[in-house]
């Protein structure tokens, strides 16, 4: 599976994130020579909370508060769970959501959609998207997923991804966007993941990225 990086837009201090940033980021991508628009994309994330046996009490502290479920745009038949505190990922068929519904021990409390435009640029695929609360569609962030098609080794692709990141940062700076894109750094080894890229790596990236997006959004409100 091709390697991906995931970035989120960090607005300059004192500025508010608006949909205009999404339009400006897409304009940056569309300014690259030879780039072509390649449709739309959408991933979604559910934040789960434990359902205590005695619902008059708050959820016990020994149960995880950071369980998230992710449905990725390029794997419609699969579903992944991430628990950052335990560095744990579960990859399953999408029917696992039905199992969780039947168990009733965890329920989705709030939901985030990542959706936007996809571009093809040589060996790269770029996906720029809004990070939206569901269902009121409040904008919480802008993310960009960068996929390098020829390589599935994280180590071997490091240099080319860093070069792309520099190109992208310079392009964004030159267009005077009110902020910058920050790459999501993850120690995959802590999650038991190897050098060969998998959907589990993507799930971990989204799990880390959304924490930073929400923190950034709360700071700038």
């Amino acid at each position: 599976m091709p390697v991906k990086w995931l970035m989120h837009f960090q607005p300059n201090q004192g500025t508010t994130l608006t949909s205009q940033v999404m339009a400006e980021a897409c304009a940056v991508a569309e300014s690259f020579p030879g780039v072509s628009r390649d449709g739309r994309w959408r991933s979604s994330m559910t934040f789960y909370r434990a359902v205590p046996r005695d619902q008059s009490l708050p959820a016990p502290s020994d149960l995880p508060r950071d369980l998230i479920g992710i449905s990725l745009h390029d794997l419609p038949n699969e579903y992944l769970f991430v628990m950052r505190s335990q560095r744990l990922i579960l990859r399953a068929h999408s029917s696992v959501q039905t199992v969780m519904d039947k168990l009733q021990s965890y329920k989705g409390r709030f939901f985030i959609n990542f959706e936007g435009l996809q571009y093809k640029w040589g060996d790269f695929k770029l996906r720029i998207g809004k990070c939206l609360y569901n269902p009121n569609e409040a904008l919480r962030g802008i993310v960009m997923e960068v996929e390098y098609l020829p390589l599935s080794s994280i180590d071997k692709s490091q240099r080319v991804m860093e070069e792309f990141y520099e190109i992208w940062r310079e392009a964004v700076a030159s267009k005077l966007l009110a902020g910058q894109f920050i790459n999501t750094e993850v120690n995959f080894v802590e999650y038991g993941l190897g050098d060969s890229y998998t959907p589990q790596h993507t799930a971990v990236l989204y799990g880390m990225c959304v924490v930073q997006v929400i923190a950034s959004s709360n700071k700038n409100q």
Binding site: M83, Q86, L90, R91, L103, G192
Partner: protein, 217 residues
């Protein structure tokens, strides 16, 4: 949703049953070696139960998460000779057990099921006939050291996927298929024991001597 019946057969007649099933099916058996872990939610969580099935028959073990719902009840269900129940299943990665421990589930018990299964099509329904020995492990997860819980007895189970709009037809398909096995064993709803069939020994002897000259479905 699935329809299911169960019955027991003496282990010494399993070979005869296999001959009968080979003749009926016309296809090779599938080996069963499944490590089944039953997990229950901890005392702080809403009460629930989930099963993790690790298929050890293949070179690379594969995991399935399975939730079994309560049996369908009511006059319609009572009239059926099979049990109908909701089922939810999902293939999962090998981190499934750690995942459920991580969200507050505890291991209640574990067994190793060994045996074989055949797949049949009968009246449009996809039937799986499995013949298994259920084994307990002397130490946690020690599947290599498992020993039969009921030596000398195997469990025979027929299951078929069903939907709300066709479960009565699937139930009929299972019931009619049970007729083929009736010389060797009787099958009924789980929990309703019919014991060992008196004709089993003579039927088994007949099958062993005929060596599989049975009409194929």
């Amino acid at each position: 949703m699935e329809c299911v019946v169960q019955g027991i057969i003496e282990t010494l007649h399993v070979e005869a049953l296999e001959i009968l099933l080979v003749g009926l099916c016309g296809a090779p058996k599938q080996r069963i070696r499944v490590h089944e872990l039953c997990l229950k939610s901890g005392p702080n969580l809403v009460s629930s139960e989930v099963r993790l099935l690790c298929d050890l028959a293949k070179t690379t073990p594969s995991w399935t998460i399975r939730h079994v719902g309560g049996a369908m009840r009511g006059a319609g269900a009572d009239q059926l000779s099979v049990l109908v129940r909701p089922i939810a299943e999902s293939k999962a990665s090998s981190t499934a057990l750690r995942f459920f421990y991580g969200i507050g589930y505890k291991l209640d018990h574990e067994v190793l099921k060994t045996g074989f299964a055949f797949q049949f099509q009968n009246r449009g329904a996809n039937l799986t006939v499995s013949v298994t020995s259920t084994n307990r492990m002397p130490r946690l997860h020690a599947t290599d050291d498992a020993v039969p819980i009921t030596p000398g007895i195997h469990l025979v189970e027929i299951t078929a996927p069903a939907a709300p709009e066709n479960y009565t037809e699937v139930a009929s398909a299972i019931a009619s298929f049970c007729e083929y096995l009736s010389p060797l064993l009787h099958l009924s709803k789980p929990g309703i024991s019919t014991g060992i069939v008196p004709t089993a020994a003579s039927a088994a002897a007949s099958l062993m001597s005929s060596g599989g000259g049975i009409k194929i479905l």
